[in-house]
């Protein structure tokens, strides 16, 4: 049988690749995820910085506006003395405080801006205090002091100083925002690069993986197909061989039949003409014996001897040999004819069938004071009735034929069910037994064991074995010389088409 080596070796080799692809794919995916997380983190950072810068810028601008609004309201009041101008002052002062706090918050994480903001805190609170003091003087009608303060232009210097710091903060915020945007763009570019390169790698990996899986499954299906084809051809081969064997078996049986049949024809001639010869010799003998005339020559004595002794002896040998040959031919004919008989399994009452078989030998057994017992543990069996009777009959005949002269014969016939749907039929005797070296031969045709003091051709067990096999069973023998034998026939309880040959 050819080995399906290549078909099974191929998938084992290709299974390694998808695992490698999967590992590579996972690694790339992990790198992408980690890179994306890092870049997102950085993006978040940039965003926060940009937001801070915007807040810082807005707070700075608003603080300047609030300071200018407060100054403008103060100026209006100073010039006109009209309280109407003072209306927005308090609001502007509150706004300034609020925006300053906002600025302070926005620059909380910015060490560079901190000193600027601290400076601005002093300046702006000094400026507001200055303005409030000036308003208080005006209300107290101390215009001179107000005007001299103006002339000292302390107020303007403070505002200019505040403007310088505010502008610095605004520029710093704008720079930070611009830097943030640039970094954000770089970041986004990185993200794009990582994602697209990773994506390409994953697509490639997946592509290779799919290709390899496809190749793998193709190899598998090829192997599967090979296997199926192999199975199918195996079954076909088994069927063909079985048919060949059956054919050969039939041919052998047919051959045996024809050969034995054709052997009979010359045998009839041998026997027939031997008889003719015998009749002739009888006449010759009487003629020779009747001739009592003298002289008695040596030739006459020899002729008389031949007629009375040699010729009848020769005829006797020819006869006994042809008779033996005739018996052998008859046995072979019987065997081959039985081999060609169609088996017809039917429901057989085993107890009834076995007791009629034992009844057939009962008389012979009882003659010498022997006994025969029957134990049937199986009610019915589906079997060819004639075949069953022939098997048991042959085994019982053997038990009777080869009994021991030293003791009364006891035969036990037992039928019992076996667990695997089979029936064991055992025929046990206490006869002369079979020597160990003969055990192999007893089932062969024309072979006999022990002292040949009984008539027979040695065909009984060969016939039984052939029949048992045809009926889908087996036969075994165990024996102890001078103690007895057990022949066990195992037959299927219900014959299946596979076990039983149908001719």
């Amino acid at each position: 049988m050819t080995s399906p080596g290549p078909a099974t070796a191929l998938p084992r080799r290709v299974t390694v690749r998808p695992i490698v692809f999967l590992a590579v794919g996972f690694a790339v995916l992990a790198v992408i995820v980690v890179m994306t997380l890092i870049l997102a983190e950085r993006s978040q950072e940039y965003f926060e910085r940009a937001t801070n810068a915007r807040d810082q810028r807005m707070a700075a601008v608003e603080l300047r506006n609030a300071l200018l609004a407060a100054e403008s309201s103060h100026r209006g009041f100073i010039y006109s003395g009209n309280e109407v101008y003072l209306a927005p002052f308090e609001t502007a002062a509150r706004q300034a405080t609020r925006w300053f706090e906002a600025l302070d918050q926005a620059t909380a994480d910015n060490p560079e801006a901190k000193p600027l903001v601290e400076k601005l805190r002093t300046i702006s609170s000094e400026k507001l205090t200055e303005l409030k003091d000036s308003i208080a003087l005006k209300r107290a009608m101390r215009d001179d002091e107000v005007m001299s303060n103006f002339r000292m232009s302390r107020d303007k210097a403070l505002m200019d100083e505040a403007n310088i710091f505010l502008s610095g903060l605004i520029w710093a915020a704008e720079d930070a925002a611009a830097d943030g945007a640039a970094e954000q763009r770089t970041n986004a570019a990185w993200l794009r690069l990582v994602t697209s390169v990773g994506g390409l790698i994953i697509v490639a990996v997946v592509g290779f993986a799919i290709a390899s899986v496809l190749r793998h499954s193709r190899a598998l299906s090829l192997a599967h197909g090979d296997l199926a084809a192999l199975n199918a051809s195996l079954e076909a081969r088994i069927a063909a061989r079985t048919a060949d064997l059956q054919q050969a078996n039939h041919e052998i049986q047919r051959f045996a039949y024809i050969v034995t049949h054709d052997l009979r024809a010359p045998l009839v001639n041998i026997m027939g003409f031997t008889s003719e010869l015998e009749m002739g010799i009888e006449k010759l003998v009487s003629a020779v014996e009747a001739d009592t005339s003298e002289p008695v020559s040596a030739a006459k004595i020899e002729a008389r001897l031949a007629a009375s002794e040699d010729l009848p002896e020769a005829i006797r040998f020819i006869r006994s040999s042809t008779r033996t040959m005739d018996q052998l031919i008859k046995s072979i004919l019987k065997l081959s004819r039985e081999g060609r008989r169609a088996l017809r399994p039917e429901e057989v009452d085993l107890a009834q069938s076995l007791s009629s078989a034992t009844a057939a030998v009962q008389h012979q057994v009882q003659q010498d004071g022997g006994t025969i017992t029957l134990e049937v543990g199986v009610p019915t069996i589906e079997v060819d009735r004639v075949g069953l009777e022939q098997i048991i009959g042959n085994l019982l005949d053997n038990a009777v034929k080869y009994r021991s002269a030293d003791r009364p014969l006891t035969i036990s016939v037992r039928a019992s069910a076996l667990p695997d749907g089979k029936v064991a039929l055992a025929v046990q005797d206490n006869g002369r037994g079979i020597a160990a070296q003969d055990m192999e031969r007893i089932f062969e045709p024309f072979r006999r064991s022990g002292v040949l003091d009984q008539p027979g051709e040695g065909m009984g067990l060969a016939f039984v074995k052939a029949l048992v096999r045809r009926m889908g069973g087996t036969i075994d023998a165990t024996s102890t010389l001078d103690a007895g034998s057990i022949f066990t026939v195992t037959l299927p309880l219900r014959p299946t088409p596979g076990d039983v040959e149908r001719s």
Binding site: H261, D262, R264, A265, P266, L267, V268, N269, M271, G272, F273, T274, S275, E276, R323, D326, I329, K330, R337
Partner: protein, 148 residues
């Protein structure tokens, strides 16, 4: 015992010359003195029975009895049996199948083909001689129709 004077001709188709001789001897021992025509193969036997033209007319008016062996070298005895029994002139000719086969299927087939009697050649010579002698005695009492 010389009672048989009918002009019946025994046609013996038997390939084994020994058998043919033994059959003839034993028939003679039964005091049958009829002509015995022996054929050792099927073709020559058929030629005699059916004539050159194969019609069987050649034997019209004769009384024939056929002793037929089934195992012939050139054709099956069953074929000869069939040819005799399907011929309109020969179909009434008694055919005794005398052969070594005692197979039940074969016997059945011969009767199906129109054999009148089937005799198995006993294998022992005594049995064989006996059977032939009895067959001879039987021939001496049966009436054989003329071929028409």
């Amino acid at each position: 015992m010389n009672q048989t004077v009918s002009p019946v001709t025994i046609v013996m188709i038997e390939d084994d010359e020994g058998h043919a001789r033994l059959i003839e001897k034993n028939i003679r021992r039964a005091a049958i003195n009829n002509d015995i025509l022996a054929f050792v193969d099927g073709a020559s036997a058929l030629k005699f029975l059916l004539g050159e033209d194969g019609s069987g007319k050649v034997n019209i008016g004769r009384q024939l009895l056929v002793l037929l062996d089934l195992n012939l070298p050139d054709m099956s005895g069953m074929d000869i049996l069939g040819r005799i029994k399907t011929n309109e002139h020969l179909k009434c000719v008694p055919v005794v199948v005398l052969t070594t086969t005692d197979d039940a299927v074969e016997i059945r087939r011969c009767y199906d083909h129109g054999a009148n009697f089937y005799v198995t050649k006993p294998v022992s010579y005594e049995g064989f001689a006996n059977a032939i002698r009895q067959l001879g005695l039987f021939f001496s009492v049966v009436q054989i129709p003329e071929t028409t």
